[in-house]
């Protein structure tokens, strides 16, 4: 294992796999670089209203979950996950199944509480793969970002050698109709950072990332994590961007980096008026106008508790491809003082920062390093 200067053990991303509305990781990156969105315009959840949604193709969400995690195991240096800690980030858990029973029966009698809970994702994976232990985090849209944060710290202090972080959320009525009630859904494909953006697209996805304390041939280092709370409003971000700035600063401090070291910011960039204004302002204040930024949610939609896991995988792929993705669906950026890329940019990418922000003013930033 490798240690940092102050004797912390390093955390390496050694394998990953994903599924989203843009397909597996290979198809996702092709879609991102070619601006081919996975969002479809759909009335399934909103009978009177068409909204943009990111829907995956599957018969059983949990079968797809097992497949994604098995992909990681097959590509790893492990025979099994018996010495691996599982940390799941999810905001929905088993809500989709509970809704199905409740809407059909109009009572709770066929709802299994264990299959309703957030922990159903971890339990299902544990039943299949037998992890040494598992735990689940639910901080809304930062769930898998906080899973990554805890995973890095657990490896840093020598508590575990192998940790599998999984971000997983399925589409359900509660989230689609709930975001609609907040008036933040776009009826079209979202336009992050564009001055004409109308809102976000709710989506589903599964991302699985194997973090280990030993470097492999294809490693990317998870070098910095930071978090903060806005203490401002339950759904609206602090317009001063102080919470967003603090989480990015904390991640930079953890990584022992300066803002100018970052090559690319994979933004939270939901496409809502409030988020994108505040996030761009925070990036402008902390990084100035040089650092390249884009949001990949115009391709994947907002995958809620899975978002940070998916975007961590995208961040690692950007490092490996040495190609920074431009902003899909951008005509004119609202904030002209930040560098929202209009063309893909080929360059050596050493450091990528990825942001996740959530209800309750919960902010988490993670930084990946080329090794």
């Amino acid at each position: 294992m490798q240690k940092t200067g102050n004797e912390m053990i390093k955390a390496f991303v050694n394998n990953y796999a994903s599924e989203s509305c843009a397909g597996d990781t290979k198809n996702l990156m092709h879609s991102i670089y070619n601006h081919k969105t996975g969002i479809t315009l759909d009335k399934t959840y909103m009978q009177d209203t068409q909204v943009g949604l990111g829907m995956m193709k599957y018969d059983d969400f949990f079968e797809l979950l097992h497949k994604v995690v098995d992909d990681v195991l097959q590509k790893s240096n492990l025979d099994n996950f018996h010495d691996t800690l599982l940390i799941v980030g999810s905001s929905v858990g088993g809500m989709k199944e509970s809704e199905g029973h409740y809407f059909r029966d109009k009572n709770y009698k066929n709802i299994d509480p264990d299959r309703h809970a957030i922990s159903v994702v971890a339990q299902s994976l544990d039943d299949m793969f037998h992890f040494v232990s598992n735990r689940s985090i639910s901080t809304a849209c930062t769930s898998s970002a906080n899973a990554l944060l805890l995973a890095k710290r657990l490896i840093n202090v020598g508590a575990y050698d192998n940790i599998l972080v999984v971000g997983a959320d399925a589409l359900c009525y509660t989230t689609v109709c709930g975001f609609y009630a907040l008036s933040v859904l776009s009826c079209d494909v979202c336009k992050p950072f564009d001055e004409a953006r109308e809102g976000m697209n709710v989506s589903e996805a599964i991302g699985a990332i194997l973090l280990q304390n030993k470097q492999s041939e294809d490693s990317v280092e998870l070098v910095g994590v930071g978090a903060s709370s806005d203490a401002y409003h339950m759904t609206n971000p602090d317009p001063s961007a102080s919470g967003a700035i603090k989480s990015m600063q904390n991640a930079l401090e953890d990584a022992k980096l300066k803002p100018q070291d970052i090559d690319y910011i994979n933004a939270h960039g939901t496409g809502t008026l409030a988020n994108d204004t505040v996030e761009a302002f925070g990036v402008e204040k902390l990084f100035g106008s040089d650092v390249c930024m884009s949001s990949t949610k115009a391709i994947t939609g907002h995958t809620l508790g899975a978002a940070a896991a998916i975007e961590a995988i995208i961040s690692c792929e950007v490092i490996k491809h040495s190609l920074i993705p431009s902003q899909a669906n951008l005509q004119k950026a609202q904030n002209q003082n930040v560098n929202v890329l209009k063309q893909n940019k080929k360059q050596d990418v050493k450091y990528v920062l990825s942001n996740s922000f959530a209800f309750g003013g919960n902010n988490t930033s993670v930084i990946f390093k080329k090794v």
């Binding site: 800690l85 509480p113 598992n134 735990r135 020598g158 109709c177 709370s229 203490a231």
Partner: protein, 216 residues
């Protein structure tokens, strides 16, 4: 074996009620009515526990196996009945609502983690609080609540007597390893299993134990 750490228990408190916990001192803890009326039951219990533990701000690890059931039921009922969903209900439905209200009311800008590990929720919250204290060197509030008091809960609940319950402790990792009490299997009568480990720590604190050991 995962890393063993020793924690000092600086304060602790627990509370439960058959249907509803009666006196959560809401008017004293949240004087502004406009905010008070938006709080979820989990938030009111969490704020009360934080107050009783003397915690004013810093890192929080919150846990709940079933989160904001009352808000979730309100949303699904609205969808089923084709009525409008209240935006407040939706914003309150996320599992991190309770500690977020603490952050809002106390100006706490520190890290908040919410654990939802089913019946291991408070156990995993303690492990996470220990990690957070270990890496920061700071006190951490570890608090867990469950509010199951929804109409027709008896359809899915037969063994939990206290439909509202919670426990909280303020912890800090310390260097001294001696005389630390290891947590064992424990069941608090009538309380949902997800709270057992935190209930056990509060009971140990009330019995005079000030140091516990656990594995991250």
């Amino acid at each position: 074996m995962a890393k063993r750490v020793v924690l000092e228990i600086k304060s602790g408190y627990k509370v439960y009620g058959v249907k509803k916990i009666e006196d959560l001192q809401e008017k004293r803890i949240v004087p502004k009515m406009i905010i008070r009326r938006r709080l979820t039951r989990n938030a009111k219990i969490m704020l009360y526990l934080a107050d009783m533990c003397g915690f004013e701000g810093g890192k929080i690890v919150y846990a709940s196996a079933f989160g904001e059931l009352q808000s979730t039921v309100g949303i699904t009922d609205a969808i089923l009945n084709k009525t409008q969903i209240s935006p407040t209900l939706f914003q309150n439905s996320v599992y991190n609502s309770a500690p977020s209200y603490f952050s809002l009311l106390n100006g706490d800008k520190d890290e908040i983690i919410t654990i939802s590990s089913g019946m291991n929720s408070s156990k995993d919250a303690l492990k996470t609080a220990a990690l957070q204290s270990l890496v920061s060197g700071e006190d951490v509030l570890c608090v867990a609540t469950e509010c199951l008091d929804i109409e027709n809960i008896e359809d899915v609940n037969s063994c939990t007597k206290y439909l509202e319950a919670g426990a909280g402790v303020v912890l800090r990792v310390i260097a001294e390893k001696e005389d630390a009490k290891e947590l064992g299997d424990y069941k608090e009568d009538g309380v949902i299993e997800s709270l057992n480990d935190l209930m056990q720590v509060v009971n140990l604190y009330n019995d005079g134990t000030k140091k516990i050991a656990l594995y991250l």
